[in-house]
């Protein structure tokens, strides 16, 4: 599909002179749910209408299914997810000592799956990984994002911010130009949201399925005609980390529905 290119290409002629973005004042930060249509919001807020809930239910089944050489289910080690996984999604991406870098929730689930459950890790964006992630994230619904700027995470948050504020791609745009400086304004009939990733994994109407924050960020990058980082690339996780830290305090809404 060429439509992404068409929209963003229109920006080339208008690319403004470089200027540093200003952070959104803390008390003005809002969930991106407030920037979608009332119909899309209603679809998200009614569990019987939200297709993301189908992934949550699949995740629940997987949570209770024995797998791998350990022949254990997630539940065998972690117990009831409603208790054991409550609040977990509010602190991801988290620093993983094994790798010396932050990993996101998908990567953490895969880490536990390969090292603890001793089963083959799931592929990025696979149905099973998204389902488990949706199920785990769902246990934090309504809880505020609790990411802390620890000494270990700080350099990665800074890197994420730098990527967010850097102009990139053939269109020479930065994420911040739209999401820090122009949120709430209408762009071709579309409200520009703040890019607060409160609802991931999301059910996106455009995808007609559930997808991860990494997938969403890759969409934005290709829209800007910048090379999208590979799934799992450190830069992508840093971007996720910065966005989650930037959204700290806002409640988790997974699985959200987005256009």
């Amino acid at each position: 599909m060429r439509r992404t290119g068409a929209i963003f290409a229109a920006l080339v002629a208008a690319a403004p002179v470089a200027a540093r973005a200003a952070d959104i004042p803390f008390d003005q930060r809002r969930s991106d749910s407030e920037f979608v249509s009332a119909d899309t919001r209603a679809m998200q807020n009614d569990d019987t209408a939200n297709p993301g809930m189908l992934a949550v239910l699949d995740g629940e089944t997987l949570w209770n299914t024995k797998a791998g050489d350990s022949n254990k289910s997630c539940a065998d080690c972690h117990g009831d997810a409603k208790v054991g996984m409550k609040g977990v999604a509010t602190r991801y991406p988290a620093f993983a000592a094994e790798f010396g870098r932050p990993i996101d929730l998908e990567e953490q689930i895969n880490l536990s799956r390969s090292t603890d459950q001793k089963a083959a890790p799931f592929a990025f964006e696979s149905k099973d990984l998204l389902a488990l992630t949706a199920y785990v994230a769902y246990q934090s619904r309504g809880m505020p994002i609790a990411l802390q700027e620890t000494a270990k995470l700080k350099p990665f948050i800074e890197d994420g911010r730098a990527i967010f504020e850097r102009r990139q791609g053939q269109l020479n745009l930065s994420c911040a130009q739209c999401h820090d400086d122009n949120w709430g304004k209408t762009l071709a009939g579309n409200l520009i949201p703040q890019a607060m990733p409160t609802g991931y994994p999301i059910y996106r109407l455009e995808w007609q399925e559930v997808g991860s924050l990494q997938r969403r960020l890759r969409n934005c990058l290709s829209g800007m005609r910048a090379a999208p980082y590979n799934f799992g690339a450190l830069s992508l996780v840093e971007l996720e980390l910065y966005l989650m830290w930037r959204a700290r305090g806002l409640p988790i809404e997974a699985p959200a529905v987005r256009p």
């Binding site: 920006l11 208008a14 973005a21 122009n182 304004k185 829209g223 256009p259």
Partner: protein
């Protein structure tokens, strides 16, 4: 870190460029136009030769569609839904998706209320028509024109 707000002129440039690209993401409702032949054929296949009158049916689509992949659609029909006076069937048609039929539902007096909702795909701006068949054989309809355009920030290829 020295930070400054982007100038108003720059904002207008960004917005103006996007609007100028003609990719407005709005759906608006206008009075209906004549419908193409394929849709007429599908209507005849569903209800036969019965005359279709305007009224009693209400077709609801949102004023702004964010994505044509999933558009909430509700049809409700004025009917007492008694054992003798009820809605037998409701059909929804579109004129421009590759196929004219969207959905056909069958119901009866036990429904209590002659209404249903679903989510439909709208590939393009077009006329959507809903026709209700009553127990007495009469047919009633409603139609609206919808305008669908495109979203920003999406994938280059289909997954």
């Amino acid at each position: 870190m020295a930070r400054s707000r982007r100038s108003r002129r720059e904002i207008l440039q960004i917005a103006g460029a996007l609007v100028g690209s003609g990719m407005a993401l709005r759906l608006s409702i206008r009075p209906a136009r004549a419908t193409p032949e394929m849709m007429q054929d599908a209507v005849r296949a569903a209800i036969g030769e019965a005359a279709v009158k305007k009224g009693r049916v209400k077709l609801d689509l949102p004023p702004i569609v964010e994505n044509g992949n999933s558009v909430p659609c509700t049809v409700s029909v004025e009917s007492p839904m008694t054992a003798t006076d009820y809605v037998k069937a409701i059909h929804v048609f579109n004129e421009k998706n590759p196929q004219p039929n969207v959905i056909s539902v069958k119901l009866g007096p036990r429904a209590g209320r002659a209404a249903f909702s679903t989510r439909i795909r709208l590939a393009d701006s077009q006329t959507i028509t809903a026709i209700a068949e009553m127990a007495d054989g009469t047919c009633w309809s409603d139609d609206i024109d919808v305008i669908v355009t495109l979203a920003a920030c999406i994938e280059e290829s289909i997954h």
